[in-house]
């Protein structure tokens, strides 16, 4: 139940890529932060809906995963630099790594993240795909 509540509380972030923007220095953070590490008390953080557009900063192809991830193996995990400046780690869907290179443009998609077994809750959230 604790996991369900934790998952539920993070739905806005996971579904719609809600991050924080410092109203003093303009820095953008994901996930949401309470305080800007640069400005401390001088800055106030406001919620921002990130565009979901970015570029591949670096990536890795996973060939030998464990558990349920075997179903999608091989798959790509990338660090993505969003156009707002912050970086985010995510799976790149619909790719086995052959068609990907650093600098490629990507965009937000909505996918299943994990399932708690056959009778548990299904978590959904952000992943990314190559922009066509």
């Amino acid at each position: 139940m604790k996991d369900i509540v934790r998952g539920w509380r993070h739905i806005p972030q996971r579904y719609n890529l809600i991050g924080s923007k410092c109203n003093h220095c303009g820095a953008v953070y994901f996930p949401v932060r309470v305080i800007c590490p640069e400005c401390r008390r001088k800055g106030k953080l406001e919620e921002i809906k990130l565009s979901g557009k970015g570029k591949i900063h670096t990536y890795s192809v996973i060939h030998t995963p464990t558990g349920d991830f075997k179903l999608i193996s091989p798959y790509v995990v990338a660090i993505i630099e969003l156009e707002e400046g912050t970086k985010i780690t995510s799976q790149i869907v619909d790719s086995d790594g052959d068609n990907i290179k650093i600098g490629d443009e990507v965009e937000l998609v909505f996918r299943k993240i994990r399932e708690e077994g056959e009778d548990g809750v299904i978590s959904y959230g952000y992943k990314f795909k190559l922009k066509k």
Binding site: N16, K70, L71, I72, F110, K112
Partner: protein, 351 residues
């Protein structure tokens, strides 16, 4: 009357060819392909389901509608493959398009026609001024049992429609439904695959309801086949669709654009909404469209729609059906079986 303010579609990236499935079961691929008029079908990735397809289609519909999602007063998701038996898909969509919390939402089920039923509910709510905008979605990740005839066509995809009165790109002129109790196709609670009545699914089921709904709409509107520039029907396979179109007097030029099953398979609740979207992608202002869905059990919803000038401003704002049909990657039967959870794996929770 209410109209379509925005529409959006989604089709998964993976495909499997009919011949690849036929090879596994020893069927003659050319006979199957010719008999069903289906060449290949879409296959969802393991991290896709009716909720993710619905969200992608809904987000695309919002790109065309250009409305504040907070103004959506109702969301209905029509599907026969909702991820949860109890817990609505519609609430997942509502949060994912930022329409919560001031709205009503529900999942609808009526085999393959629950999506068009959602459109009718939204039309009623909009026309009575109960809501400003309604979002109706038809989406499915259909399952056919291995070696069953349905395995050649059961696929995945969906389309979303934002119904409202302002800035419509097409307007409803009328709708007519035809419904009877017909057990042509069904799935009992807890069973993974549906059962169907074989030959029984044709004449007394699909054709009776589709043709009756189309003729009922003709009567209500005072129209016939020659009054429409485009027509789209539910399409469990290409053969039924073409036969229904011809029986009503439609020519190939009128029915070809909405026929997608040969390239993506039967997307069930997504089928008629996706076919209509393919027509809207190319329709000119002033053109008239007839759309007729079919759901086993059984019933058909028919719509008469006129396209207006706004289509030119909106159609390029989101991916078109043809772009998604062309964006594909083939898998073999083994990968397909893995993706669809047809394999038992060691120590995994796969079903």
């Amino acid at each position: 009357m209410a109209g379509i303010v925005g529409y959006g579609v989604y089709i998964p990236y993976y495909r499997i060819k009919v011949e690849e499935i036929a090879k596994v079961w020893g069927d003659d691929p050319r006979a199957i392909s010719r008999g069903l008029v289906v060449q290949e079908k879409s296959v969802p990735s393991p991290d896709e389901d009716t909720a993710t397809i619905s969200v992608e289609a809904a987000r695309n519909s919002l790109k065309r509608a250009k409305i504040n999602p907070q103004k959506i007063g109702a969301i209905y998701v029509g599907s026969e493959s909702h991820p949860y038996a109890v817990k609505p898909t519609a609430t997942i969509v509502a949060d994912a398009v930022a329409a919560t919390p001031e709205l009503t939402a529900a999942d609808l089920e009526f085999a393959c026609k629950a999506g068009t039923a959602g459109i009718q509910v939204c039309m009623g709510l909009v026309d009575s001024d109960a809501i400003e905008y309604g979002l109706a979605i038809g989406a499915d990740t259909a399952q056919g049992a291995p070696s069953d005839a349905l395995e050649y066509t059961a696929s995945a995809g969906g389309a979303a429609y934002i119904i409202g009165k302002g800035n419509t790109l097409a307007d409803f002129e009328g709708t007519y439904s035809f419904t009877t109790d017909t057990p042509d196709f069904y799935r009992r609670e807890g069973k993974p695959y549906p059962r169907h009545g074989g030959r029984f699914t044709g004449e007394p089921a699909y054709f009776k309801h589709v043709l009756s709904a189309a003729k009922g709409l003709f009567g209500k509107m005072g129209t016939d086949a020659s009054d429409y520039d485009h027509v789209v029907f539910h399409q469990p396979n290409g053969k039924f669709y073409i036969r229904a179109a011809r029986k009503l007097g439609f020519k190939e030029d009128q029915y070809k654009t909405g026929l997608l099953t040969p390239y993506i398979g039967n997307t069930y609740s997504g089928a008629t909404p996706l076919g209509l979207a393919a027509v809207l992608d190319i329709a000119q202002a002033g053109e008239r469209i007839m759309a007729v869905s079919y759901g086993s059990g059984a019933g058909s919803d028919a719509f008469s729609i006129t396209v207006n000038d706004e289509i030119e401003q909106k159609r390029d704002l989101a991916p078109k059906v043809q772009e998604l049909v062309d964006n594909k990657c083939y898998v073999d039967y083994a990968v397909y079986a893995k993706f669809k959870g047809k394999l038992r794996m060691a120590g995994l929770t796969q079903h």
